[in-house]
Amino acid sequence: MIAQGHPRSIGKHVPRREDPYLLRGEGRFLDDIAEPKDTLFLSFAMSPHAHARILAIRTDAASALPGVVAVYTAEDMARFVKPIRTVIEIQGYRASSRMVLAQDEVRFVGEHVAVVVAEDPYIAQDAAELIEVDYEPLPAAVRLEEADSESAPLVHEDIPRNVMFEAAFASPDFQAAFESAEMIVSETFRTGRVAGVPLEPRGCLALLDHVADSLLFYTSTQIPHLARTALSEILDFPEPRIRVVTPEVGGGFGTKAQFYTEEVVTAALALNLRRPIKWVQDRREELLTSIHARDHIYRLEAAIDGEGRIKALRTDLTTNAGAYSSYPFGCTLEATGGARMIVGPYDIRNYAFHTRAIATHTCPSGAYRGVAQPSCFMAIEGLMDRIGRKLGIDPATVRQRNLIRSEQLPYTNVLGVRYDTGSYEECLRRALERVDYWNFRKRQAEARDDDEVLRGIGICCFTEVAGAGSGGWRVRGLTKVPGFDSASIKVEPTGKVTLLVSQAAAGQGHLTTFAQVLADYLGVKVEDVFVSEGDTATAPYGTNTFASRGAVAAGGAVIKAAQSLRQKIARIAAFLLDVDVERVELTESKAIDKENPEKSVDFRQVAQIAYSMTSVALPQGESFGLEVVEMYDPPLATWPNAVHAVVVAVDRRTAKVSIEKYVVVHDSGRLINPMIVDGQIHGGIVQGIGEALMEQIVYDEDGQMLNANLLDYLMPMALDVPQIDISHIETPSIDALGGFKGVGEGGVIGAVPAVTNAVADALARTGANINRLPLRPSYLLREMRRRQLAVDGDRK
């Protein structure tokens, strides 16, 4: 497939093409795009109540402010904007629709009730502050535990008991296996509410092309194609006349893989007022209205044998959906994800789950990096440790006994999902070795009860669902998420190559990595390839960038397109070289005669013929041009796997946690650019450390968010981060083209459980049971004291 002599680009530390302009500050993010002089700016009036009836909205003072062009409420918007309705075709889902501005009732703090259009962003904000709204505050269902009850206030009148989604599953022999097991180990895990918090807040700019009567829409998104389709449907405006362009995106993490109400409002007002409209949110708005995630409760029960093997597992999962189903993933993504992924790399043959998404009067939840996997692996990995403690078997041994063995691969799990390849045992073996696990355990056993510092070690073995194709999204009912991605290759008349991909990167280095893939599969020099993405006018349709799908789905599309185009190049080259096409090999932007490598033509010579720019005529039967578009639908999913092993020290007096050692053994299949892969893992791990130790969106009992700013929403700084030791095992996927498995989310998925288990392990000798996030000192101290009091009480 790849020419023998072609110098490989895949697998190399190719420095990023994105860097030079970003390092000079020339990256053009949304707010850097020069808007036309007549641009109008938006500012939204937001609800200060979690739940209230809107009695009256007075906009006169706002409208009267010089510089204000218009003020809109829900009633005005309803004339030209349809509600956003998240369609999910899965049993047990109750759809809620959402107007882009709240109508009659507000359902979370920060929900928009009116929007000001003004000539200057400062004036827009002034005017938004002059909008007076009379509210009748209503009781709010804020905490998941409270919203999930008969007596809770309803978030939507037509959604009884606030259950937005409910599903259950049991494998055929589950009940019998569960009942016949020797013992049951159970635990409840409560994860904290967090958010992606990309450093660049969201924003968009809508421009009109008056001649073509079309909309040019710049938006800081990961999903330009899905956004375009959604805009067309909601605004009832022809899709061909909408062009969505993603500029540089300052971090996405899934936060920007949702389609938001503000995007609809910006586009709708541009079309309605016939003026350019720009909206850029500030950080407070970002934290109030961008999707939140992982407010989950897992109740696990494992039926085990005396050796610690899980004979049957039962999961009861409750997730906090927030006030509305976000678009396009809705409220089912976390609920189905957590329940389905939790069996992970373990050979669990009997499984049952019950999972629900509960509506609350809080910001909608959505797809933040890792989705439910950091939380479901925190649960199952926490349970592995508890099995070990209960039986007096080391938790690493418990895992070894439960892992899928390499000879079982390819393996179909209890939910019917196929793992094509993996390295579960080898990753664990190597991680234990690199973290010096058994010596640590020896030293730990020698620790004394009065030591000031408690040390613990935590492990997380996991699989990650990545690169899902159409089958993967259909299984979860997400019919608005296509699953395929695509690539368009053009060898231009000059012989240089344009590659357009249906992706929209937010820092992943796609311009570099897709050039590497194409270089190898087309036999072209990497520097001859120019990659472009994120513009719906040029890039072919696709599912875009989220859920660790870039390398798998778009990488596969690049390979497929290259394979198809290289045949045409080879045919024309064979004609020029006057040899059989089988003898032609493409390498380094040349076509050579394999049997006589001195004989070659370069891509330029081939292209000149293809584009009819030379006296040599196109061979008979060939069509003009050197262009191809291919769609690639990956398998149900690819399955990267990894093991994270972490050593922590907890100060017994202050409960401050320090990470002393962090080891990762990762298997993402074939690596395209190891430097970029490591960068993805580093970033994910640090987000995971944040989630485990400090990050938390705090709502008070009335539904007021108490930390909508970066002073109070704590994220890791450089000093909070350890050295990270990463090593790779490359077990290529046999189901996905190219063998790539995806790497966007693995870091965070492994970090949250591993850090949690390490802290829990450190505190285990105090008797404290650590099962909630975040692991802030106040919580850890409380648990240690509670245990101490219980012990003292027993002594009396």
Partner: protein, 155 residues
């Protein structure tokens, strides 16, 4: 948010009671109070400007006296709309205890804030509330016992 405290004023109970029912005294004593009008014997309308961290907001609101047991105790219930800054509401259980010609005011406050005030000011709001309360009593003392300062009690 809950906080409690007490304050000793060297005046007899009935004088303190009259003072906290007098709109003119209250207007001077409430920090940042710009307007205060008596609507009825137990209701006032007020406009108060408050600074919480980076936020300066003008609250328009009403204050109601409830459960009145003159001159021993009452509940002060209030709420204010600060426009875009959000809102504040709360109630204070106030008790007057006289001993040796002085009056001990004991109070128990439950307050809640909402909107921007909560989102960016929650970290400092308790401190602000305590400070404003203290200032209120200092101002009150200044009105009731001219030229003499009261002793703040533990807060």
């Amino acid at each position: 948010m809950n906080f409690a405290g007490e304050h000793l004023i060297r005046s007899p109970k009935h004088a303190v009671w009259d003072a906290i029912n007098d709109p003119d005294v209250l207007r001077d004593a409430i920090p940042g109070c710009q307007e205060l009008h008596k609507k009825s014997d137990t209701e006032f309308d007020a406009v108060v400007q408050v600074k919480v961290g980076p936020l300066k907001a003008k609250f328009k609101g009403s204050v109601r006296l409830e459960d009145i047991q003159q001159p021993h105790r009452c509940a002060i219930v209030g709420e204010g709309q600060g426009g875009v800054a959000g809102f504040a509401k709360g109630n204070a259980q106030v008790e007057l205890i006289e001993s040796q010609g002085a009056t001990l005011i004991r109070y128990n406050v439950h307050a809640a804030i909402g909107g921007k005030l909560a989102q960016i000011g929650s970290r400092v709001v308790q401190g602000v509330a305590t400070r404003l309360t203290l200032q209120f009593f200092e101002n009150l003392v200044a009105r009731i016992e001219p030229g003499d300062a009261g002793e703040p009690g533990p807060v």
